[in-house]
Amino acid sequence: MAASLTAAQPSRSEASLARLETVLQLLRSKTFIAGNVVVLWWIFWALTGSRFTPHDPLAQNPLEILKGPGAGHWFGTDQAGRDVLSRVLAGARDTLEVAPLATLIGVVGGTTIGLVMGYFGGLVDEGLGRVIDAFLALPLIVIAVTALVAVGHSKWTLIVVIGAVFSPIIGRTVRAAVLGERQLEYVQAAKLRGEKPPYIMFVEILPNVVGPIIVEGTVRLGYAIFAVAGLTFLGFGVQPPAPDWSLQISDNYALLNASNYEWTVLFPGLAIASVVVAVNLIADGLQQVLDR
């Protein structure tokens, strides 16, 4: 026994070498690193909240309403005299909470749908495929708004609704990957030793389609941030006075017509854009390494 374990050492280190190789390849990817730097920056602010912000993001100051960017307030102040920089930094929290959780739900649901469709094929695939087609024919916002109106809007319903809307989209990608795997003879070999479908789907096939799932999940995360921002802007997401980015935009965009207070909208908008771009950079990096 002991002999077999020590003998196993060299190949075990070979396996970890292969994993290390993947990590190193990722670290060499400039897009992956750049994306991570930006995302980590926002995660830091999401975790610390208002602790390190230059001002209290909620503190109103009637004397400094709509000040332009300058020495005291780098990003200026909004119509309640709150510091825009502090609100942008503190505003990372809500987006970074809702979007990843929604994506996670989408990935879990999508993986299950994709495995079932791809593995069983035939009528199951056909039936589910039609339902998904019908579902995807409607714009995301329409489905989400309908659902949120029906169940009442809170952060959690937002998460679940976005996750549910993403499931069939992710399911399609997973299905395509599963179809490729299903042809391979290890699936037949599993059947020939009497394995049941759930074992074959989740233990045999799933580990082989993890790469595409991770990539698709990351791409979806970018869209999830958009979706959260859009729904919040429409008033179905986070409620005031939370310093959420899209909330700041919806609070202040009316001012754009009146006068040039563009900083109140520009900086939260840039913040959203930076996260979405960063997440997509990470997705690109992952795709290059994992989707070989």
Binding site: A7, P10, A15, N208
Partner: protein, 684 residues
């Protein structure tokens, strides 16, 4: 013509079609340059066919890609010289390379399906060869028709209007060859051009290429792992090992009088000359190919060579010139043929008692697939039996129903008619309804271990799961059995936590065999288990299968397109054509004849190393569609021995022509004996 011009043209014509001088190629992998070709020097003379042979990973294809400067992005020529028709290739600019590829060099790859653009009609693709060189469209089409006629395509007009997927593999390869020859290249490179084709189609394509080569005096670099093909096609051959040309000479000299231990070993690995499992095992080459770019200060083959001395590990052998253009890079070339053989211990194979109840019997098995409203008769009334400890070989071209038959027996496919019995008990047609005992009794070893093993699971996980499901073992008992299994297939214990990707092809197939044997099966289907492997690895795997049969008395249903392999392992052989059993009998009887005309054609299609002027019969045309099989005898459309209208009208019954020998042919056995006499048919 001025004198200086005369000198120039003279020099020009004296140049070889291809000259490689000390060619070195490196691939950059993980930030390091790894040497793939180590100073290869060879010449392809004008009008000559030169064969480059070696196992996978030796650098054959790299050499070809370097010649046309199509190396992958991480590869580059790091030294030496390449010249085509006396003109240097390496110093050329991009534009000049384009001209070179358009006018002077043609390349034919292994897979014609991917060499042709699937969305462009064949005619336009062939015509493109001419238009790219500035020929007007109308003329290009006419010349395309001529090019297709040259490769003996009977109806070029209709072929031109089709898309590549509407042509068979053999036809696609003809089109590719037509395109390659159309520009009358100074050099034609053929990279495993027939490896993906059936033996009968391969024979046709090889005959065609050989004929055209002689007719057009094309200079050919022919790359193949198959020594038989090289022997048939080439005048001279170079043996490549680990990026170095270890031996070179005329085909006769190298194959009949090899002077490098690697060549000797390679030749001994091949089951040929009617060798069978009960007398003598196959030789193998111990060890593995060195890693990519490994530093090899001495002889590249020293680590695996049974003759290696100290000097072989430290000093690189110089090319020893042996006369007649025969060169060997071995310090001890004069002793190469004394390479020690693997112990040829005869194995005590289980006695087969055909008076007993057979292990597996299938009766009147038929399978009809429904496809786009057509009925495809994949199997029609196939009946046979396998006794314990016996190997039944299954041969036939692709599309003959071999795999369908195997999958029907295993329960993956349900038969339309007929049934299967195991140990006298009727088996349920569907795998999911079979008992655990029935499932464990029938197992399979697939052709390609890469796809048959889950690449994310470790060796230990793969084997322990099989033991759990097939033997009901877990914990320490499973651990012990797993190590026992690994030991019996010679898979070292240190691989228990390796994943398939970390194993070589041969080790992967050993793992797949171990998995199949996890439940002590009574019959294992071997579906081309060695066709994805190199010959030296193939020999080791065949030895292992025979050994397991001797130890455990397991029966095999052995499917292979390689008749030499089938003959080596099989006790009896079944020949299938269009889903029908054409012949069934003891291996010696089926091979030595008199045999069914189809079997005769299959045997005569195999290119042999020993050459010999035996009278070949050729099958012309493609295997007919199973959706509309020919009337009467299904083989009459291609039969070289067709006797008359009776063949087209009545299907001959499968009759017992002599004891244990069944055949489906109108020609009586004695007449066949007369027809086939004088043709010593020695399979590969």
């Amino acid at each position: 013509m001025t004198p200086s011009e005369a000198v120039l043209t003279h020099e020009h014509s004296a140049a070889h079609a291809l000259e490689l001088e000390d060619l070195e190629v490196v691939y950059r992998v993980r930030g390091r340059d790894r040497q793939v070709l180590r100073g290869v020097t060879l010449n392809v003379r004008r009008g000559e066919a030169y064969g480059l042979v070696g196992e996978s990973g030796c650098g054959k294809s790299t050499a070809a890609l370097a010649v046309v400067q199509y190396l992958p992005r991480n590869g580059r020529v790091s030294g030496g010289r390449i010249s085509i028709d006396g003109r240097d290739v390496l110093s050329r600019s991009r534009g000049e390379l384009r001209t070179l590829r358009a006018n002077d060099v043609s390349m034919v790859y292994q897979n014609p399906g991917t060499a042709l653009n699937p969305s462009i009609r064949v005619g336009r693709q062939v015509a493109e060869v001419f238009t790219v060189r500035g020929v007007a469209r109308g003329e290009a089409v006419e010349r395309a028709i001529d090019a297709l006629k040259l490769v003996q395509i009977a109806d070029p007009g209709s072929v031109m209007n089709r898309y590549p997927h509407q042509l068979s593999g053999g036809m696609q390869q003809r089109v590719v060859i037509a395109m390659a020859l159309a520009k009358d290249p100074a050099l034609l490179i053929l990279d495993e051009p027939t490896t993906g084709l059936d033996a009968t189609v391969e024979a046709e394509v090889l005959d065609l290429v050989a004929g055209l080569q002689a007719q057009l005096q094309t200079s050919v670099l022919f790359i193949s792992h198959n020594l038989g093909v090289i022997a048939k096609m080439c005048a001279r051959v170079g043996v490549l090992y680990a990026g170095r040309l270890v031996e070179e000479g005329t085909v006769d000299a190298v194959l009949q009088d090899p002077r490098h231990p690697y060549t000797v070993g390679l030749l001994r690995c091949i089951p040929r000359g009617g060798r069978r499992k009960d007398h003598g095992r196959l030789d193998t080459i111990a060890g593995f190919l060195p890693n990519l770019g490994e530093a090899l200060p001495g002889c590249v083959f020293a680590a695996r060579c049974g003759l290696a001395q100290d000097v072989c590990h430290t000093e690189e052998p110089p090319p020893h010139v042996l006369g007649g253009g025969h060169v060997s890079r071995c310090h001890f070339h004069e002793r190469a043929q004394t390479l020690p053989r693997e112990e040829a211990a005869n194995l005590a194979l289980p006695a087969i008692d055909r008076a007993r109840e057979p292990l597996l019997r299938f009766e009147q098995l038929g399978k009809v697939f429904q496809q786009h409203g057509h009925s495809i008769h994949a199997l029609t009334d196939v009946s046979a039996a396998v006794w314990p400890g016996e190997t039944l070989g299954l041969v036939g071209e692709s599309g003959s129903g071999k795999t369908t038959l195997a999958r029907t027996l295993l329960g993956i496919i349900e038969p339309t008619t007929g049934g299967v019995t195991l140990d006298g008990r009727e088996l349920r047609p569907r795998l999911a309804r079979r008992t655990a005992q029935e499932v464990r009794d029938l197992q399979i070893v697939f052709q390609n271990p890469d796809s048959a093993l889950n690449r994310r699971h470790t060796v230990s996980r793969i084997l322990r799961r099989a033991l759990r499901k097939l033997s009901g073992l877990s914990g320490a008992a499973a651990e012990a059995r797993m190590l026992e299994l690994m030991h019996s297939v010679r898979l070292a214990e240190r691989y228990v936590s390796a994943r398939p990707g970390q194993l070589s092809g041969g080790l992967k197939q050993r793992l797949a065999i171990a998995r199949a044997f996890a439940g002590e099966p009574k019959l294992v289907v071997c579906d081309e288990p060695t066709s994805a492997l190199d010959v030296s690895v193939q020999a080791a795997i065949l030895n292992l299968l025979v050994e397991l049969q001797a130890q455990r008395g397991v029966a095999y249903l052995f499917i292979s397109h390689d008749l030499g392999v089938v003959r080596y392992v099989s006790d009896r052989i079944a020949v299938l054509y269009l889903g029908r059993l054409m012949e069934l009998g003891p291996a010696e009887v089926v091979f030595d004849g008199p045999h069914h005309p189809y079997t005769e054609a299959l045997l005569s299609a195999v290119p042999t190393i020993d050459g010999g002027g035996r009278d070949r019969i050729r099958l012309s045309g493609e295997i007919p569609s199973a959706a509309s099989p020919p009337s009467g005898c299904v083989f009459h459309t291609r039969c070289p021995r067709k006797v008359g209208p009776v063949c087209e009208e009545t299907e001959p019954p499968l009759t017992v022509v002599e004891e244990g020998h069944l055949m489906r042919c109108h020609i009586p056995l004695e007449e066949l004996r007369g027809l086939q006499r004088g043709k010593e048919v020695v399979p590969a």
